[in-house]
Structure formats: C-alpha cells, structure tokens
C-alpha cells in the first residue's frame, strides 16, 4: 500500500491520527558541507497502532526519532500531536532509547518510579504503579536489584517500564533491542506485543531489523537511504494477538521478502556510499 492509499484509508475510517508527520525535512549545517538527513517525510500513526520505521544505517531514522521526541527542535515541516506542533519534549511522548539508559545508582523500582517522582505522585501510589509496570514487563521479584545485577534484556525492560509508567499517549522506541541477542530480541518482542495489545498503546518503533519490524507492526514505513524519504508504507496483515511463533509462517516470510526487496536497493546505496567515503578518507 502506498502513502496515498494509506492516508486515504485513515481518512475514510474517520479516526483522527494520534501522530502526524507532515513534510518533515531536516538538514544539518549549511553550504557545501551540509547534510540533508530527512527530506519531505510524511506519514500518520493512528491511535493504538504499532508503526515501525525501517531503513538502512545512515538514512536518518534516529534523526526522525529525535525530532518526534522533541530532542531536535529545529526542523522544517510539522510533527503534530493533537494538532500541537512538537518543538521540544512533549508530555504525550514516552521515549525508549537504543543505548542502555537505566540509572545505575537506582534500583529497579526506583528507576521505574522516577517519572512519577517528578510528577509529585505520593510514595505509596508511585510504588504501586511501579510494581504494576514491573510486573507488566515480567520483572516481578527483581524490584530491589540494581541494574548492574540484570542482563541487557532485563535492563531494557526496566527502561520500557519507566517510560510506560507515566502513561504516555505515544510510545516512541529507537532500536531498543539493537544490543540484544536474537533469542532475547524475539522474546522481548513478544513482551512488547503483549503490552501494546493490553494497553492499546500507540507505538512508533525505529529499527533496522526487518524481522522485528514485521513481527511487531501493523504498518511499516520503509525509508530510502540518505536523504531519508518515505519509500513505501506496507500494511502488515498478520493476525493478532501475535507472538514470535509468527516468524515461522509463510505470510511472515512473504512480508520479509517484500520489504527486503525495497530495502536492499537502499542498503546497497548506503554501503557503496560508506565504502567510497572510507576510500576517500584513506587517500586523504
């Protein structure tokens, strides 16, 4: 499905998008050395929808993540949440980062309760809520442990619980499983799918992992290599509730092959580009 048909189907359903990315462009620097990271990107995310943005390394995925999260506030075009233009971190957006981001000086429950502390929620209520979300990410019994005593996957679950505890309207994740092994990645994918379904959580995942995107998403936005543009939007019509078992189905393989055929061309461009940059660098 193309961007145009997808937007048309959103409009036809009568539901307003929760997140609108409208003609977003981001350029770093000016003059001959400038880099156009994102060029005229547009797509919507509907309430309760799980959308993944996939593209080769260097296509501007993380730039898009930072713009939507409000960490980059100078850009052209609009990122709208409830018709409000994003120009700084927005209370409706909860961010999960690629790098390990738990606070090493706080134990699991204090990490998860941190956003509630900022909101001034009283101690007993914030501990109750933190317990609930720790349970939701499958870390019951680990509340008192320090992050250093947890595995990478568990620490990432703590980060996800910390983001969810403030009940953001939109969960924004930047390659949260990138540092994890394949098995943990699949199992954590199951956990995310379950949470997203339980909470009907609108989620935007930035990733370069094809199987992860197909496993989790309702729609996948495929980006071109630099400058990042929307190449295609693919509807994933795999049944829900969904688990990692879906990876063995024919339909899953079909989607992976279909998206890969789009992505391969872009990834090849990226590889050629970085090789020529390396060659130029070694000559210099």
């Amino acid at each position: 499905m193309t961007l145009a048909t997808s937007a048309a189907s959103d409009a036809a359903s009568g539901v307003q998008p929760q997140l609108v990315i409208d003609r977003v462009t981001k350029q770093f620097g000016e003059g001959p050395g400038s880099v156009l990271a994102i060029d005229d990107m547009s797509f919507n995310v509907m309430p309760g929808e799980f959308v993944s943005v996939i593209g080769p390394s260097g296509c501007g995925k993380s730039t898009l993540f930072n713009i939507i999260g409000g960490l980059l506030d100078e850009y052209a075009g609009d990122v709208l949440i409830e018709r409000e233009r994003i120009a700084g971190p927005h209370k409706a957006v909860g961010m999960v980062f690629q790098e390990e981001s738990t606070f090493p000086w706080r134990n699991v429950i204090d990490n998860v309760a941190f956003p509630l502390e900022l909101l001034g929620v009283n101690k007993s209520e914030r501990l109750d809520l933190a317990h609930h979300f720790i349970d939701l990410v499958g870390l019951k019994g680990f509340e008192k442990l320090m992050p250093s005593a947890l595995s990478g996957g568990m620490r990432q679950r703590v980060s996800i619980a910390r983001t969810l505890v403030s009940k953001p309207q939109i969960l924004l994740m930047d390659e949260p499983f990138a540092a994890l092994d394949e098995q943990t990645r699949l199992l954590l994918g199951d956990k995310i799918t379950q949470i997203q379904q339980d909470l009907n959580q609108t989620t935007l995942l930035i990733t370069h992992n094809l199987t992860e995107a197909v496993q989790l998403s309702d729609r996948i936005v495929v980006m071109t290599y630099r400058p990042g543009k929307v190449k295609r939007i693919v509807d994933i019509k795999l049944p829900r509730p969904r688990t990692s078992d879906v990876v063995s189905s024919d339909a899953f393989g079909h989607y992976v092959a279909e998206i890969w055929s789009d992505l391969r061309e872009e990834a090849t461009r990226g590889m050629v580009d970085s090789e020529s940059a390396q060659r130029g660098g070694s000559r210099g």
């Binding site: 999260g69 409000g70 971190p89 606070f103 706080r106 900022l118």
Partner: protein
Amino acid sequence: MASSSLAQHRAIPIILGASTIIGAFVVLEVLLRMGVVNKYVVPLPSQVVMALERIIVEENIFGRMRETAYEMVVSCVMVIVLGVPIGSLLYRWRSLRSAVLDWIAAMAAAPLVLAFPLFLVMFGRSPTTVIVMSVITGLAPIIIKTTEGLLGVRPVLINVGRSLKLTDAQMFRMILLPAALPTIFSGIRLSWTFVLISVVGIEFLINLGGLGQLINDLSERYDLPGTYGAIGFVILVSVAFFMILERVETWLRPAK
C-alpha cells in the same frame, strides 16, 4: 562450609599483608644489628615499637591528633564545598573551562607547600595558615575530577532527563551529579590525600599544632625511635581515615 571458605578468602590477604610488614621489620632489625644499616640513621624497629608507649603517654599524642584532625576536617570539608561547585561551573561554561582548566591542572602539580612563607605573612603562625594552604593544595584534583565526571555522563542519560522535561536544577541533582559521583569520589580521595600530606607537612614546617609539630620536636631532640614512632602513628591514622572514606563511598554508591 561455604561461609568458612569465604572467611578464609578474606583472612588470607590480611594475614599476608601483616606478615609482609612484620617480615620487613625483622629483616631491618637483623640488618641494623649486623651493622649493615647505620643505626644512627634508622632506629631499630623494636625500639620504635617500645617508643610508641612513651610518645602516647608523655607527648600527648591524642591531644595533638585532635589538633591535626580539626585542621584536616575543616580542610576536607572546604575542599568539597569549594571544589564541587567550581568543577560544576567549569562543566557548565565551556569558555571558562577552556580558559582555566589547564591552569588548575598545573596547580595540582605545583609544590604549593613552598609558598608557606607567604601564607605565614598573611595569616600568621596559626591553624588558619595550615587550613588555607591545605585547601589550596587539595582543590585542584577535586575540581578536575568533578568537571571530568560531569563531562563523562553518558548522553543517553541526559536525553532521558530531557525527554522527561527536567529543569536544569533537576537535571543536575537527579542525573548529572549521581552519574558523576564515582569520578567525583576519586577526586575526593586524591584531594584528601593531598590535604593530609599538606596538613602534617605544614605543621612540621612551621612547627605548629599537632602531629607534624610532634615529628619536628622529636627529630630536633634527635629522638630517632620517637620520630619514627610518630611517623608510624601518622601512617596508621591515614590508613584509618581512608578506610572510613571507603566505607562512606560504598554507602553512597550502592550501584558500585
């Protein structure tokens, strides 16, 4: 069974350390008695041990230790009170950092103790001189390490804070400072070492106050066993001091 093996593991390094020291003393005693080492330069370790009782009783060593401890505590507190905010300021203002950080690093390497006559003129022969000189001597490492610790905070933690819309003060108190604490602690450790050396050294130089003055007095009386006994006592005090610091550090840093 497991707990007794754990206790054994803990006891072995302590026993090994103590026997190394005792062994070195025995070897030195033998060398001195054989005349290989001149006993008019180095006293017999057995005489030093015997002298300990005398310097404790006759030289009022605990009273002198109180004086040194007072200068130490005031200097150590002031080093933190001044050093951490200055280090934070340098983190916050890049141009100020570029302008002065190299000078501060140079200050850490300079033998400031040689400037004691200047401070004597300014503050007289008083504990204030000892404290001011020791604070200046101990400041550089804590400033450098505070700046280094804050600059080394992982950007993702700052981004978490930004995504949660933390104010500058919240960001500093809730993320930057705790994240930089391990590095700041190594700065505190270095600074306090400098302060300890400086306090005792300046007491010795200006012949005033506590343990430094005692060492000076005993050496001027050519009481070699007493002098070495007092030096040994200073070493024991500093070991105890840094053991306490280690405990405090562990208590403040549960994630270590």
